[in-house]
């Protein structure tokens, strides 16, 4: 009754679009990654140079630094988003008057375009007329200037990301929490479990798939973040994440070959990380009931 051929037919439009606009550019990037191609150099064609790009890449301190920064950014931002999102979702499972209004307001940042998020936060922190540096200086005597202090720039982007994406985590968590059956929780309470025990042994295992999926999606998007951080800090120190580093190599320097190989390695790291999470989500670990 279910002929696989029909299945493939249903899948084919999706596959065609993704092959044309996703996979074909990938093959091209793969090809260029093994070539030297600098539009402004003496001979401006593609010159095959084998592994040279990668040889340069593994010793490129700027690149390695950008990977470290991206990792720190992703860990801090996603970690806080998960915790905050969970707490907020937990608060939303109770009923109180005005709940949906608060929820709508809380969802708003998710709808702001990343480029506008960058603009908003830049307006907040720009020295001269942003309120954040002004009040920090006034109340805490703290010099705050993201252009000069890399750490402050990094923290500002983390906070910005948390502001922008926590609502998404809240919504997925809320969906996950409302799907948890009532009986096990009640049973555990009757058996005298503490609140923490209920959370750790009942809620968390039920939430695991949602949690991992959310982390997966956030990792995927955090690593490729470019526009909002670019808008915020203009690629200044402390915010040179991998995505922005690639941007700087490809555009102002027009070093396409090298830029392509960096993209390949970034893609490689993302895929490996996400694949491990994917295995964890699909519950294919041995010794576990799938």
């Amino acid at each position: 009754m279910r002929n696989p051929r029909t299945g493939w037919l249903l899948l084919s439009p999706t596959l065609i679009i993704l092959l044309l606009f996703g996979f074909a550019p990938f093959l091209y990037v793969l090809f260029v990654g093994f070539n030297q191609w600098n539009v402004f150099s003496a001979d401006d064609g593609l010159v095959f140079n084998g592994l040279d790009n990668f040889r340069r890449l593994v010793f490129d301190d700027d690149f390695l630094h950008s990977v470290g920064l991206t990792a720190r950014f992703a860990i801090f931002a996603i970690g806080s988003e998960i915790v905050l999102g969970f707490v907020l979702a937990q608060m939303l499972t109770r009923n109180f008057p005005g709940k949906s209004l608060f929820r709508i307001i809380h969802t708003l940042p998710l709808m702001v375009a990343p480029i506008a998020v960058g603009a908003i936060w830049r307006l907040l922190v720009i020295p001269g007329f942003g309120p954040v540096p002004f009040f920090l200086d006034r109340w805490f005597d703290l010099k705050y200037q993201i252009g000069s202090y890399p750490d402050q720039a990094l923290w500002t982007s983390v906070i910005m990301d948390v502001w922008h994406w926590t609502p998404f985590v809240t919504l997925t968590m809320l969906a996950g929490l409302s799907a948890i059956p009532k009986e096990p929780v009640e049973q555990a309470k009757v058996d005298g479990a503490s609140r923490f025990q209920v959370f750790w042994y009942v809620t968390l295992p039920f939430l695991r798939p949602v949690l991992l999926t959310t982390v997966f999606i956030r990792i995927m998007d955090a690593i490729r973040t470019v526009d909002e951080v670019w808008m915020l800090a203009g690629g200044g120190p402390g915010t040179r994440f991998t995505g922005i580093y690639i941007w700087r190599v490809v555009f102002p320097r027009t070093d396409y070959g090298y830029g392509s190989s960096i993209s390949l390695i970034t893609l490689y790291l993302t895929i490996v990380l996400c694949w491990l999470l994917f295995i964890a989500i699909s519950g294919r670990r041995k010794g576990e009931v799938a």
Binding site: T14, L15, I17, G22, V29, L108, P114, I115
Partner: protein, 284 residues
């Protein structure tokens, strides 16, 4: 368990305190943008003032009467709406196939589909640019600077997300319902129309909304693969920073205007968002 009145009052107090605090944190940046959009160039500098002194609508008037802005807005509406519809349709078919048919290596196909969202956009712009200007052409017509080009391209990052979202929803619909409908003589379209679509409606709605928002908000591709005719609103936003020597007031006004359509859609669809975002958590 009896809770005394005092305890209940205290709990309510904590809840509201918490939410009012969250609301302030959430709204503060947006409020500041609004304040900036209501100020003239001169008023911006000096001591930062978080309160709204007067309604200065000139920024909005300037933006709204700009013919470029109107074109960008139309483009954005057309592109994101068609993209969302296309993504919903394709993702529904694809997910149905992945969920119901025994396809060789379907887990692997599924994972590959998702990897399409991971590509760092900067380096992929170049091949896309070449494809858009040279590879896909009919005579003089190319995909470059067309709405259809953007619509198709946005599928690359929206489809993986949509399929993932819908996978959980459709896996959660018992296959017996399909079988029952088929025994009653329904064909594939019948099953989709009378079983899958009604049951997956919240999920489909969320898919559509989020795809719409992602497409509406996209910047990098739109900025580099269009020039005049198909520019979208986010690109116009960024133009303020570079071309006009950063006119913050108008930039803020335009950001506010960009936010309004997506905010309206989300407020209207609020109910479905939580119902649909389950990612397969309701399997059992």
């Amino acid at each position: 368990m009896t809770i005394s009145l005092r305890q209940r009052a205290w709990r309510l107090f904590v809840t509201y305190g918490f939410w009012i605090f969250t609301t302030i944190v959430t709204l503060l940046p947006i409020w500041w943008m609004f304040v900036v959009s209501m100020r003239s160039r001169v008023e911006l500098f000096g001591r930062p003032n978080l309160s709204l002194s007067r309604f200065f609508v000139e920024n909005y008037a300037n933006v709204l009467t700009d013919s470029a802005f109107q074109r960008y807005m139309t483009n954005s509406v057309v592109v994101s709406t068609s993209n969302a519809l296309l993504v919903m349709a394709l993702a529904l078919l694809a997910t149905y196939a992945l969920s119901r048919y025994k396809l060789t290596g379907r887990d692997n196909i599924f994972f590959w589909l998702i990897t399409n969202r991971m590509a760092p956009p900067a380096a992929f712009l170049l091949p896309l640019y070449i494809m858009f200007t040279r590879t896909f052409r009919l005579g003089d017509w190319t995909l470059y600077d067309t709405q259809i080009g953007l619509i198709l391209l946005y599928c690359v990052f929206n489809l993986p997300f949509a399929i993932w979202l819908l996978k959980g929803v459709i896996d959660g619909i018992p296959i017996e319902l399909d079988d029952a409908a088929m025994i009653d003589g329904a064909g594939l379209w019948g099953v989709l129309r009378h079983v899958i679509i009604p049951l997956a409606a919240p999920g489909l709605a969320v898919t559509g909304i989020l795809s719409w928002v992602f497409a509406w908000n996209e910047y990098l591709f739109a900025a580099n693969l269009t020039s005049v005719q198909a520019r979208t609103i986010t690109t116009g936003l960024a133009e303020f920073v570079t071309v006009t020597g950063t006119n913050w007031g108008e930039l803020a006004a335009m950001s506010m205007l960009t936010l309004i359509p997506s905010a309206i859609i989300v407020i209207l669809a609020q109910r479905y968002i939580v119902m649909g975002l389950t990612f397969g958590a309701v399997k059992e």
